[in-house]
Subunit: 505 residues, 4 copies
């Protein structure tokens, strides 16, 4: 193995490759550091040099994120946010140019930019609620990682409204009812779970802790909770479910890629994993929300097009969409396509109106559940909290609750929030950020404790309501008067609403 590059800006060593001609092409006199633009873009990862010029435009995180590292060693930046196999899945074999002595290239800074060193972590026992976890995690995480977890669209109105909406609902405790027995067990899509609380598909868990999504899986196994694996997880699905217990349940989240073949390969892999019981198809993020905290800390490069908006000029619209995501998905085409690729039940995530909930129920041969979600407020600011949509459904199409399972997520921070969602008709209640704060604050034990606290709070709440089982909770246990005054009341009632459903589904 001869040295090929040997200049100040970085030296690459050829590795045994089939395509000898490529080796020749990059020989000696072309240092890595000069391939730093979108006409020729090389990056160093794990001591190897890759030519990613052709890939830039289809990078799900956007071209600029790569260009920032063009000609440099991006390993520390790349590693915690990409599952293993990412390079193999996305690059043609020829893209691997050779090895390199990484001491000779510019590296990304270590991720932790936290200047405040935490002297000693407080004991997990001293963290009493989700806010405690967020506070500790905020201290421990790098600012970039914090920004990724914390950020939400625009002014974060939906993010805070998610929690406020729960708090505006009052409970109606009934007394003199035997609550000696009280348990949280329930079924989600036919799978027995120990609690109605599940882990939502939040990405990039390894930003918080090296155990990553597998660490969350370990906590869920211990508590008997369902976990949904993010399409953008920092580990492969195979890695995440590797240590699952026989009765453990997972879902897998699908963002449909522009390059539909990639999604087909992923679905095929997931079909083979017994622990994964259903597929969550996320619909609320066909373009990426504007998350300014992420932008300020460099997680998302500002890609406001510089092309003119002036009349006549046709900007290349496709490029403006959420890089890599397919914005053209529809009820008819896409569901049919997915059904030919998997026999797993399909759950639609990101439903935010009763109209779409209703339409989903018309597709119930394929769709077995829906998740009411505004993506934790990360997608479209001032989109409605899930409890609004629950309430809309009770008002305009209550029959949907009998046809599909309805789950919700967004803003859940207390057991009382869980109970309120269940009273409104939800069957499963997802938590997104709390397990990530838990992971960052205390690794696997941190995640376990977040789940345990929420489960205990839920149980305490049920007992104080005089309720022993999840299925006993109902609208009569809550006072939604304040919420009702904020929920959509139709432009003019259901008749017209229905008229707005696409005439052809």
């Amino acid at each position: 193995m001869s040295r090929i590059f040997d200049v100040a800006e970085g030296n690459a060593t050829s590795c045994p490759r089939k395509n000898a001609s490529l080796d020749v092409k990059i020989q000696i006199d072309v240092p890595v550091a000069k391939h730093n633009n979108n006409r020729s873009c090389w990056v160093v990862l794990y001591g190897k040099v890759y030519d990613v010029t052709d890939f830039i435009s289809s990078h799900p995180g956007g071209a600029n994120v790569i260009l920032k590292w063009a000609g440099k060693d991006a390993t520390e930046e790349f590693d915690p946010v990409h599952p293993s196999g990412t390079l193999e899945d996305n690059l043609r074999p020829e893209a691997l140019l050779g090895s390199i002595d990484t001491a000779t290239v510019v590296k990304s800074e270590p991720r932790s930019d936290s200047s405040v060193q935490i002297e000693m972590d407080p004991p997990m026992q001293s963290l009493l609620n989700m806010d405690d976890f967020e506070q500790l995690a905020t201290k421990k995480l790098s600012k970039k990682a914090w920004a990724y977890y914390y950020s939400a669209a625009d002014d974060k109105i939906s993010k805070s409204l998610n929690t406020q909406a729960f708090r505006s609902i009052l409970l109606r405790p009934r007394v003199f009812i035997d609550c000696t027995e009280c348990n949280l067990e329930t079924q989600l899509l036919g799978n027995q779970v120990s609690m109605p609380i599940y882990v939502s598909p939040a990405a990039q868990a390894r930003l918080g802790h090296s155990s990553g999504e597998a660490g969350i899986a370990e906590a869920c196994r211990s508590l008997g909770a369902l976990q949904i694996i993010s399409n953008s997880a920092s580990m492969t699905p195979e890695q995440i479910v590797a240590n699952a217990s026989p009765e453990q349940t997972f879902g897998w989240q699908l963002y449909i890629q522009d390059d539909r073949a990639k999604s087909e390969r992923m679905v095929a892999r997931v079909n083979k994993l017994d622990a994964i019981k259903f597929i969550i198809l996320t619909l609320d993020s066909t373009v990426m929300g504007k998350r300014e905290d992420d932008q300020r800390f460099g997680n998302v490069i500002d890609e406001i097009t510089e092309v003119s908006y002036s009349k006549g000029s046709k900007e290349s619209i496709k490029k403006k969409a959420f890089a890599g995501m397919d914005p053209s998905i529809t009820w008819t085409e896409t569901l049919a396509w997915l059904q030919t690729r998997t026999h797993l039940p399909i759950v639609l995530k990101g439903i935010q109106t009763h109209e779409d909930a209703y339409i989903a129920s018309l597709h119930r041969s394929q769709v077995k559940g829906i998740i009411l979600s505004n993506h934790g407020g990360r997608s479209l600011d001032t989109a409605p909290p899930a409890v609004h949509t629950l309430f809309e459904m009770r008002k305009y199409c209550p029959e949907v609750f009998d046809k599909l399972e309805v789950w919700v997520d967004g803003g859940v921070r207390r057991g009382t929030d869980v109970v309120k969602a269940l009273c409104l008709g939800a069957r499963g209640v997802g938590i997104g950020r709390p397990p990530l704060w838990g992971l960052a604050a205390g690794g696997v034990e941190g995640v376990k404790r977040t789940l345990r606290i929420l489960a205990d709070e839920t149980k305490t709440c049920m007992r104080l309501l005089g309720v022993q089982r999840v299925d006993q909770l109902g609208m009569h246990h809550i006072n939604t008067r304040v919420l009702e005054q904020q929920v959509y009341d139709g432009p003019s009632g259901l008749g017209q609403c229905r008229a707005q459903f696409p005439s052809k589904l």
Copy 2:
């Protein structure tokens, strides 16, 4: 009396005991400090050593509170929160192992951890309202005691809503009405009292001042106000009523114990005390609310179960309930049982829905009154303020006001709050924290002043409304428009509501 223990970790001296074999068993070579776990747990109290191993699991405050002091002298911690006789009532005689030289054992720190020394107390005259009392008490109390008084469930939403709900009601003063005469006298369950304001059953008064609940009784005697004695008072009922005046009225609060025989013994004692005119049965705390301030200052040990929630595992549910409290109480069984034990009138505390108020009215052969209360926000967060429940009742079952006396508590801080509750139909208005702040701020005189201020504010308010007697107050004296928009409006009206009443009462 020979020395039995004599080692660095603490020495116990035998006391005259019937069971000589026990004396032998613990002789010499077993220092107290080694009995510091749940297999063998000794504690030193008032210079004596007790083996409380068998008692741990039934301690109303939770096992961990005891285990924290296992092998140590817990006297300073124990004393202000337990009435005399507690040891005798709860431990078998054999539990007393002997005496000990307390200089040889680890002691609890003095309760007052306030680092700021109050230079000189301001004169009581300078405290003008309940907030002034809370502020001074906060300075004077230890943090643990402060936490016990201040704390409420979860995010303290109900606690603050209790006060806000009163403030959202406006008054409607009528003019040109002779208000020369104005008095607050009324009857509570047939007992003549000088004001409709009474002292709610708040526990642990000795944390605030050594005169404890008896000090509150002295203040109530001086003002002619009713006092309800807490089941968890830091003095015995006998001590508290010892100096009662002939016309003074008390109620006694009952939490029904897991060990029903204990409750029966207590009721029997109360039956013998003439000053106690009725029994308040508290229903809203069959499991303990999550009071995080208390947890942070060690009043409540975090007892989140470490057992798995995973499928199949049956955790020991009973242990999770409010230690010592019986979560299995019901309308039919429990009321019947209590009626066989006492002829005192029964008042149900913790009613939070019109449904339960209505059910209570169906039991009016036994139940003579109800107290609308969310336990000062300490039990279930986002439970409704009492004025919500008052309003619900006026809307759905106004006839209940004619069948039972309806009292309220929670959030009362001004005479105007008292008047508003009376206008909505309450007959008695309880104050929980204010007398405790008063006691902590100024002992008996402090309690007197809190009562006097509230009574004077109430009278001023009545006069400015043009009202001379409590029974003249009515709905036309208040504007509840803002409140109404927050009160439960039924899932679909009373018809359905009634259908949700248990079919068998």
Copy 3:
């Protein structure tokens, strides 16, 4: 004139008196300083000694205010808050004991306790709105005087609600209407005034500036505005109207005294003053509100009764009423009495419900107007803002607007507030604190500027609404949607409301 007192604690010199025996009684050996209690209470005023023992209990400001100065020279405290003639009107001639060398007695501290010396007052021109005036006045006034002006009942909820209620009303500007001409002239009870804004009867103007109520009168003369003289003015009505212009209009406020003869004497004096065109009878303060700022700065001595509230004890209720005020006034007795004493039109101040507005209209042979007022929030906290009562009247008894003039006060701080009140049906709009802040900030010029600013703001608002005259303003110029949701909606509509009117008026 011989020296009578000559001891360290103060020396009094006899003055020529009819009752020589008195001179003798107090001779030589009885120093003033020893008469410092309620059995014998002497005070020094303007170099003279008065025995006020008999007067203490009928002092309108309360006994304790006097007792604080018993045996001392109270001149500096007394002077700015009492009109001349107060001593003569209230004390019997014998009360004057003699003269004294004031250097020998303990004096009250100078009133100004402001430690921050204002380096140089900003020019009046730089004060742009009422808040600017309040801020400057707050710096310049003594804390006691500030407390008297600023304070309001309890938690000052009504005080802040007064202003917020105006702000919650939106305006509806109409365009393309000629607003070249625009004037504020109107008539109040038949008296031509240059603006609908008038000065409310606020007491103690000399606390703010030595020109006192006469200074306000000078400003009103200059601007053509109506002024109502407070019953508790710090100058006599004769002094205040002394420099009135021929067309200037005053009202005089009457608090009916316990000692009805005093009120009769005052009314007789007022009847003789041509500048005074009507009498305002204040109804909302038959007992004094709880103004804690005043209490904290010693303006009002805390008089919470120390007598027992216990059963049987009959406290002396009369003493508890607003010292000196008569709490027994009624529609029938009192109006009839007043009508025999004056031919001036009567205006009732402090109406706070539509019921009382309606009743007033039934007495329109005597009553020519009503002022909707909660006394600037100083009387009963959570009493309704005047705009609530205006709205109630429009809803339940709009015909009253045709029978009586309806004026309002409380919380007016902007010309837009004035316009909104006029749109709702008010004919006159009173300002209480602003002229006092103006007087304190800049003397007569300060008052002029507050009136000018409000008038200019009012005119600008009218023009931008497309309105030229005050009588063109109406409900269609405002959006009261938010306010409406807070206004009293009846326990069950007007039918029942009317039923609550006293059956005998």
Copy 4:
């Protein structure tokens, strides 16, 4: 050219003039500095001396603004806020007295009074939203300029309500709809534009950046956006449109002057400019709002009249109106007059009620559009946000949307705000302050970026709603429940409302 003035206070040099006698009159012994009052007022501008005595009273900015500079060199103050030609248009030729050595006169301070020197501007790329631009501009602008841009009437309630009203509307995202294509193109009054966002007619752009309104025009050309030129622009219309692209569209704003001939001359000039496609007639500011920030920083001299308001005195009302503006304009007279002067379509700006929107629709032979606006809150405080008026129109006169184009402005800070306005029926959405902040922060590039950010946010929002074209947006995409509870609901419904329309239009 001989020196005429040569004294310490300033020397003027005569310039060739027709009227020699004037030259003589001011010769030598009359220094400029002495003409510093309203009887003789000279100012120095661009090295020349002008006698503006006759002009003072008709200065649109008020007399005092000129008098402040009487006898001094006002060039630096004058230049950035007056278009070239202002002197020629407003002064008679004789007013020019001669030249002067400006070193000898008192000058205005340099405009930038910002003591904090910005070390280096942050890159435009780092500014992510309108708030970022406002913050940077606030740092860079002089306080006077900042005050001019920032200020609004009274307490700025309308200003903040403008933004809050948008935020209170929730969006209703629909899923599974192909949003690959999405464009913002639309037509405004028949003119094709690349986005529905346009630049509102905000004055004084050169205060922010030397490129002024022409710089904004350059940015609009680049982005394809419509710009409305302010009547008070700091450049002439000819200068602003000089570099327009052939397809670029402008509107021109008209404030009708007291001196109608001036307006006629301006309209005649505008008629000749092909780039200007319509005239915006502003109706909401016939008198100037009270902008206290402007007053505090000297932009507006406090002109509260010192004349008496007392009865009989007739103050000169005309002078009190917005100096120079004609307050007498009406639907019938003024529209007819304008129509004889131009064939351009007329748009009425400042409509704030549905009544006026309806009346405008009756004039649709002349009026082609209306702009719902409260002048950015600068005119009348507590005037309604444009979305209120949109909602009123949908409720009371929805047919108007079919008869006229309805545009809105005020408080738009996010793409979601733009979308919400479009959903409610607006066709164009104006931004006033943001381009000025952009210009101040970064010149032409700053304006481009503000437009680009808003356009991108708008597009992201549309895609996440499942919408491809502007004309697909509708009421079913928004939840206006909270807003609806604040919108005018009529004094008693539409019947009466219509009755309030002027009977003769």
